[in-house]
């Protein structure tokens, strides 16, 4: 592309590098808390206990790695699909700086125990305002650029990015409404059963609109780009998009099965959760058939395996999730380690896989060079795959064990196991999970090294061409 120089690649690169930085921090804290579970001496009160570190881990990876990559890669995609530079490049640069300041402050505040106790919305109110500003800046730039686009048709990825911005705005603002009491403390405006319903409407759709729609935007853009094969069915992508965006919002209460929440809300949520298999698999089928249309060609590109395995894990995730929502399954595995096993198949298998592959595509493009080493990329791929499988499978096994032991009774009907006995039986699995995490982390280090060397290679080429 001749007008490449117009594109604000530096901001894109800045977001990608920042997201990798926060990603490493979040993963290392994840390893730390995984050890704390089987070695309580690794808790260092007051700042580094499990209760405080777990939220640093989840927020660091959701907002640092996830949202950072989403901002950067969405800017990249939007500029190219609109065939025009960002409307406000300086604002985008400010967005990058503000993002890093906000994530740093967020981490410090969570270490300090400033915590609203709402899952994935733990940040206290001053930081909530910061997060809203970040999304407003993003929305202004995205919409502005799309409106001024030079390409008449909006491609699938743009639909998903638009839906992401709209949904996040509604979800984040509503769930964080609170009455402040000083700068560091606030109380939710919602109470009791109602606050549970609002929180899980938010919590589940944070998964939907941070870990699903923007990642699908990347998938729909980079799979055809890296393989050179157009997307299999435009019609299927239209049906998948609207039914996904419609159905997601009904499903939050599947997190509250058997709680005092009114039964009809739970049942409605379970029904829509099962329905969600259809639009999710719409994208899975579209991905498979796209690569399958010319498999030798798709196979020739090293990124295809990242995308196809990523969408496969997305497919497995979106069958496992609705299964868990069913009452008969929920009563066994809810509140157990099965659920972290499920979550990490999505985050390590689908999200990180797809984001990493997108970064592999973007960084050489904007550095005007090729990837430093396909061999290292392949090593990265297999290590994160093995690490994630060990993590998820051990947690599924121990989750079933926890559920089953807590229900086990003696012949006279009394409970067979005390809670502490059930905890003790998890230790070998928790240790194996740490091993899986270490393997995954090593895989990510290969990835980072590869990206670092590619950027260096690009700089060296730029100097020699000058």
């Amino acid at each position: 592309m001749n007008d490449d120089y117009q594109y604000d690649n530096q901001t894109v690169k800045g977001f990608i590098v920042s997201s990798i930085f926060w990603g490493v921090a979040g993963i290392l804290i994840g390893l730390w808390i995984s050890v704390q579970l089987w070695k309580p001496e690794w808790n260092v009160p007051p700042f580094f206990t499990y209760g405080r570190l777990r939220v640093v881990h989840t927020n660091g990876l959701t907002f640092g790695l996830g949202v950072g990559a989403i901002f950067g890669i969405s800017y990249y995609i939007v500029m190219r699909l609109a065939k025009t530079p960002l409307l406000f490049p300086k604002l985008a640069r400010f967005h990058l700086y503000l993002f890093n300041i906000a994530i740093a402050l967020a981490a410090v505040s969570l270490f300090a125990g400033m915590n609203q106790s709402l899952e994935y919305a733990e940040l206290e109110w001053p930081l909530d305002i910061g997060v809203v500003i970040l999304w407003v800046i993003f929305a202004v730039n995205i919409f502005g650029t799309i409106i001024r686009r030079k390409e008449e048709q909006m491609y699938i990825s743009l639909w998903y990015i638009i839906a992401t911005v709209v949904a996040v705005a509604i979800l984040y603002i509503v769930n964080n409404l609170s009455v402040p009491s000083g700068l560091f403390k606030s109380y939710s405006v919602f109470a009791g059963v109602n606050s549970a319903n609002v929180q899980w409407w938010y919590g589940h759709n944070a998964v939907g609109f941070v870990f699903t729609t923007p990642i699908l935007a990347m998938f729909y853009y980079f799979l055809p780009k890296s393989t050179g094969i157009p997307i299999f069915s435009h019609r299927l992508s239209i049906i998948s998009f609207w039914s996904l965006v419609f159905a997601y919002l009904w499903t939050g209460a599947h997190h509250l099965v058997y709680t005092p929440l009114p039964d009809w809300i739970q049942t409605l949520a379970i029904v829509f959760t099962v329905f969600l298999i259809a639009p999710s698999w719409g994208s899975v089928v579209n991905g498979f058939y796209t690569a399958g249309a010319d498999w030798p060609k798709a196979q020739a590109n090293y990124l295809t395996k990242f995308f196809i395995l990523g969408i496969t894990f997305y497919g497995l995730q979106t069958v496992q999730g609705p299964t868990q929502g069913l009452r008969v399954v929920s009563q066994l595995i809810h509140y157990t380690d099965w659920v972290p096993g499920h979550v990490h198949m999505g985050t390590m298998g689908w999200v990180t896989m797809t984001v990493a592959a997108s970064i592999y595509y973007v960084i050489p493009k904007i550095c005007k060079t090729d990837i430093y080493s396909i061999g290292i990329a392949n090593t990265h791929f297999y290590l994160v795959l093995i690490g994630q499988l060990i993590f998820s499978i051990t947690m599924w096994i121990t989750g079933i064990q926890q559920g089953a032991l807590s229900k086990a009774v003696n012949p006279d009907g009394s409970l067979k196991y005390a809670m502490v006995e059930i905890i003790a039986k998890n230790y070998p699995y928790w240790q194996m999970r740490t091993l899986g995490g270490v393997i995954f982390t090593i895989g990510m280090l290969f990835f980072i090294y590869n990206i670092y060397m590619t950027i260096r290679k690009g700089k060296a080429l730029a100097v020699s061409n000058a």
């Binding site: 309580p40 939220v55 839906a163 000083g182 403390k185 109470a191 009791g192 549970a196 319903n197 919002l249």
Partner: protein, 310 residues
């Protein structure tokens, strides 16, 4: 449909507005609509707002992220009710902003923790969980003992929530530690709901211990004692948080207590006000009936009898 969408593709603002409408349908039906109805705002008649000390404790619970490992909702499932007590009712949470039901039970559920153990049990357990359960993975929270509450903060929090308080309650915070606060919070969780005993069936008062004096029962009882009882009653029954078990005082009264009554206390605990052997229990001992079957409790009694008078 595809035709309509082709047009929609070229109009980003219309597209965004339509997305918002589609997103809002499920949101309105499952979230905004119920919020406007009384079913989402139930309140038990005897539920009270938190006192300043209890609220300070709840704030600490949130600050330390206790909800990452402990749930506060008992599901209406048979074994869960046996393990934790009466299942959670919608009306118990009216003053919880936000709810703290949690999503993961790395440790036990706490919805019925209020009144289950004496205060001293909690503060000692917070300080050193592994002194109670060798295989516990809970962090130690001894530092809460060293931190004093800030009455000014507590007042501003009470005001933000609109909870009533008296100046006596605020003055009483003077010198109180964060440990006092979190223990006070533990003791108020879930007490507004009517309590049912965790286990219905226990021995009758006139029952005799069928394992009395049997050496293998005494040996089994000794192990059970070390695992379950020693933290409160001392490693040799000399007493501690709970009373001495080697003397002849039972439930504040001189004189022996029958095997059946002892069995009943171990199985069902000593909830305050419960009538046992003509006396009123003052509370302190949790029920063990859910985790020890009848014969295990008889073995334990055989052991307790064996250390009597030593």
């Amino acid at each position: 449909m595809a035709g309509l969408h082709e047009k929609l593709h070229t109009r980003p603002v219309t597209f965004a507005v339509l997305s918002a409408v589609v997103i809002l349908i499920g949101t309105i039906v499952t979230m905004f609509y119920p919020m406007l109805t009384p079913q989402m705002h139930p309140k038990l008649e005897n539920l009270k707002p938190y006192t300043p000390l209890q609220l300070a404790g709840r704030d600490i619970y949130q600050r330390e992220g206790c909800n990452n490992c402990h749930t506060q909702t008992v599901r209406p499932l048979k074994t869960e009710v046996m393990r934790y007590g009466e299942y959670s009712k919608a009306g118990e949470f009216a003053y919880d902003r936000p709810f703290l039901w949690g999503s993961k039970r790395t440790g036990p559920d706490l919805a019925r923790i209020g009144g289950k153990y004496p205060d001293a049990w909690h503060s000692m357990h917070f300080e050193d969980p592994r002194a109670f359960f060798a295989e516990s993975n809970m962090p130690s929270y001894g530092f809460l003992n060293k931190r004093k509450l800030d009455a000014g903060d507590v007042v501003s929090h009470m005001k933000a929530l609109g909870f009533p308080y008296t100046s006596d309650e605020i003055n009483a915070l003077d010198g109180k530690t964060e440990m006092d606060a979190i223990v006070a919070y533990m003791q108020v969780i879930g007490i507004a709901a009517a309590k049912k005993p965790a286990i219905a069936e226990a021995a009758r008062a006139e029952d005799k211990n069928p394992l009395s004096g049997k050496p293998e029962a005494v040996a089994e009882g000794k192990d059970l004692y070390a695992a379950n009882c020693a933290v409160c009653h001392g490693s040799d029954g000399e007493g501690g948080i709970g009373p001495d078990l080697t003397d002849n005082v039972w439930l504040y009264k001189e004189g022996d207590m029958g095997d059946g009554a002892l069995h009943n206390i171990i199985a069902n605990g000593t909830q305050p006000g419960r009538e046992i052997e003509g006396g009123k229990a003052k509370g302190g001992m949790p029920p063990f009936g859910a985790q020890m079957d009848k014969n295990k409790i008889w073995a334990l009694i055989a052991y307790i009898r064996s250390i009597h008078g030593k």
